[in-house]
Each structure stands twice: as structure tokens, then as C-alpha cells.
Symmetry: C2
Subunit: 229 residues, 2 copies
């Protein structure tokens, strides 16, 4: 065996961290593994990459095979390559993540996924492989991203109140935000369109409704400003 051949003994996989918002809580989509290794354990939807498949394609294919989710925008986060992270041999994994509105998708477990279920972040126990570490890293990335880019607005109804927007941020950031500062920050960027409408059919004093103005955001970025919550 030549020196170079001894390097070609590894495999690699993709693991998908799909975050979902259900209107009040941030959740993560996990599968229960119906095959070894870690049979019966909950895990991120991930699998080995075929020899003739590129990474982005593999991430989409694996997600669809295990959970039925299609058309989800996946972003690569990080490679995890600890030497003994996989019991079958040297396997490095590339983690991808996404943030979706749970009600927009239906989940259908298949392949070696015995079941697939949205879990609240607080309910995630010990996962297979190093998946807790991968989840933690992707959650950190999501928290960073949601403060730096307006990716949260797609999870809300088209017309929303500032309280709904703040609750979304509080769910994702897992922290309470100061109401006055939050409103000041978000309104000062001038990216919300005041619809001159209020909520209907609520018991409390109806709140004003806003819409995120994507055109203003494009202009905002072109002028060198940065989104920052």
C-alpha cells in the first residue's frame, strides 16, 4: 500500500440542524435512529455522503430521505472531525443549518429514521454521536445570524406587532430583551412599514401592525448600513 493510499480510508457525512419556529417557541427537528450505530437514540438528520456526491447535494438528499423536508435552504456551518467521533471508523461530518416556519412544512420520517419530531431546545436530551456539540454550535451561529441579518421576519405573519417580533427574538436568543431598547433599535433602522392598522379581535388594547420592508432593506445595505438587533 502506497503512502498516499493509507489516507484514503475515511468517510464523511452531513448533519442537518433544522430550527423551526411555531409562533412561540424555537424547536429543532430530530430523528430517532432505527439502525446501528446508536439505534433507538435521537439524532440530527444526517448520513454518509456518496463517493460521487457533492456536500450541498448530500445535505439536501439526506434531509429529504430521513424527514421528507424539501426545498429548505441549508447553510454550511462547520466541519466536525474529532478522531473518535464515529464508532465505525474515521468520519468527519459537515454541519448544515436552517431556520424555518414549522407550519409551512410537513415531516415524514423514512429510511432509517424511525420517527422525526420537533423538540423544544429544553427537551433535547443526550443525542447520538457528537450531535449535542453540533447542535450547540449551530444554535450559536443562528443567534449570531439573527442579530446581523433580518432572517427572522419570514417566521412571522406578513403583518405583525412589535411584541410578536420581540417574542420571536427572545425565543431564538433564549433571553429576555428590554422592551424600550428593542423598539428603539428596530425602529431606528427604518426597515418596518407602519401599516396604520391595529390588531383585530384581541382582548387587550389592540397593537399597531407593521410589515418588514424588503426594498428599504436592500437600500439600507447598499448605503453601507448593517442590520443589528
Amino acid at each position: 500500500m502506497s503512502e498516499v493510499e493509507s489516507f484514503f480510508k475515511s468517510a464523511f457525512s452531513v448533519d442537518n440542524v433544522i430550527f423551526g419556529f411555531d409562533g412561540s417557541d424555537l424547536k429543532v427537528l430530530l430523528i430517532q435512529r432505527g439502525a446501528a450505530p446508536f439505534k433507538g437514540k435521537w439524532a440530527l438528520p444526517g448520513d454518509l455522503v456518496y463517493p460521487n456526491e457533492d456536500l450541498d447535494t448530500a445535505a439536501e438528499r439526506v434531509l429529504e430521505q430521513l424527514t421528507g423536508l424539501r426545498g429548505v435552504y441549508l447553510e454550511q456551518v462547520k466541519a466536525f472531525g474529532a478522531v473518535n467521533r464515529h464508532p465505525l471508523g474515521r468520519v468527519i461530518t459537515i454541519a448544515y443549518y436552517s431556520l424555518i416556519k414549522i407550519s409551512d412544512y410537513s415531516v415524514t420520517p423514512a429510511s432509517f429514521a424511525q420517527s422525526a419530531k420537533w423538540h423544544s431546545l429544553g427537551e433535547v436530551g443526550e443525542l447520538a454521536f457528537d450531535h449535542n456539540e453540533i447542535l450547540d454550535n449551530c444554535l450559536k451561529e443562528l443567534k449570531h445570524k439573527v442579530r446581523m441579518a433580518p432572517i427572522g421576519f419570514e417566521l412571522l405573519p406578513p403583518k405583525f406587532t412589535l411584541t410578536e417580533l420581540q417574542q420571536l427574538y427572545e425565543s431564538i436568543l433564549e433571553t429576555e430583551l428590554d422592551k424600550r431598547n428593542f423598539r428603539k433599535k428596530i425602529l431606528s433602522m427604518n426597515l418596518l412599514q407602519d401599516l396604520d392598522e391595529v390588531q383585530e379581535g384581541v382582548a387587550h388594547r389592540p397593537a399597531k401592525l407593521y410589515r418588514f420592508d424588503r426594498k428599504r432593506y436592500v437600500k439600507f445595505v447598499a448605503e453601507g448600513f448593517s442590520f443589528d438587533i
Copy 2:
């Protein structure tokens, strides 16, 4: 051969994109390969990862073996895994990057690096493998990072003028910045300490000297503000 074994036929590598600032220009450290494949071509300092080595350790080891650079903080950026990116077989690579002050380090090519040289970004020709694509991605990441975190200050002398700071940003961002806006933005964050000193021995009117105040930055972040140039 079992179905699983057929996946364990791959290798993986690390590639390091080391950006350096020489006081006026942003450069990248390249090696000239003295071994196949791509013998004689310029490339990023990278190599295959040993079966018993984790990724971060491999990145440091490979950088030191090829260029002599030690103690450089490397940050993982992205995995590149196009099917035919390597002529010897399926090899995915994990890219790392760093930003250093060129005068703080000496470069000593060794192993299969025939030479190692800092290149201005404009002088980088066609590189081995998919290294142009990797370099482009890391440069994009650097430009993003330098606007969001005060990583540039370590490249300047401890006392610097606002013009020097602006030139640093212009080199990294590869664009001219509006002087008035730049000064307004940087000073409004209140992270620079005005030293009440001016330059000495310059032909033009001496400019004021500043120092980056790391303590103020820690407080700034703790209070929920974000660095933004």
C-alpha cells in the same frame, strides 16, 4: 465488501489561507508545490490529514511544516467537497484562515513547499486544485469579519492615526471609504482612546494619535452594542 465499507474510501485535507498586512497592503501566503499533483504550481499551504489527527491540529501542523509559521490563530471557514476537486481521489478539504502582521513572522518553506511567499491579492494567478475558489471564499469571510469585529487593530502600531486605520480598512475591503463617514462611525463607538499626542517627524501637518481601548470594547459588547465599520 459491505455497503458501509464502500464509503470509507475518501481522504480529507486542510488548507490554510493566511492573510498578512505589511503596513500598506493585504497579502496572502502561498507555497510553490515541489511534488505532484500540481508540481511547480502555487497553492495554499495545505495537506492531507492523518487518520489519527483532528482537524484543528492538522491545520496547525500543516501550516508549520510547509511555511514555518507557528502560533497563528486559525479559524475554520468552510468545507469544500466538489466530487472531482482532487486528482488522486475523493478528497474534501476544510479551509482555515487567519490575519497576521507580516513583520511579526518569518516564513521558512519546507516539506514539499519549494518556496513560500507573500503575494499581493492582485498578483495571485491560477492556483492548484480549487484554491482560487477557497481563497475567494476566505477573503469574503475576512471582509465580513473585519467590519463586525475589531480584528484589524492588531495589524497597526499601538499608536496610530485615523488615516492609517482607514488605509488598513481600505486594503482589506479593497475599496475606498468616505473619510468623513469612516471617522464618524469609528469615533461614535467610542472605542479609541485619544492620546493627546501627534505624529512626530512627518512632512505634512502631524495627525492625532489614537489607541484601541480593549477594555472599552469588552464593556461595549457586554452592553449589547456591536462593532460595525
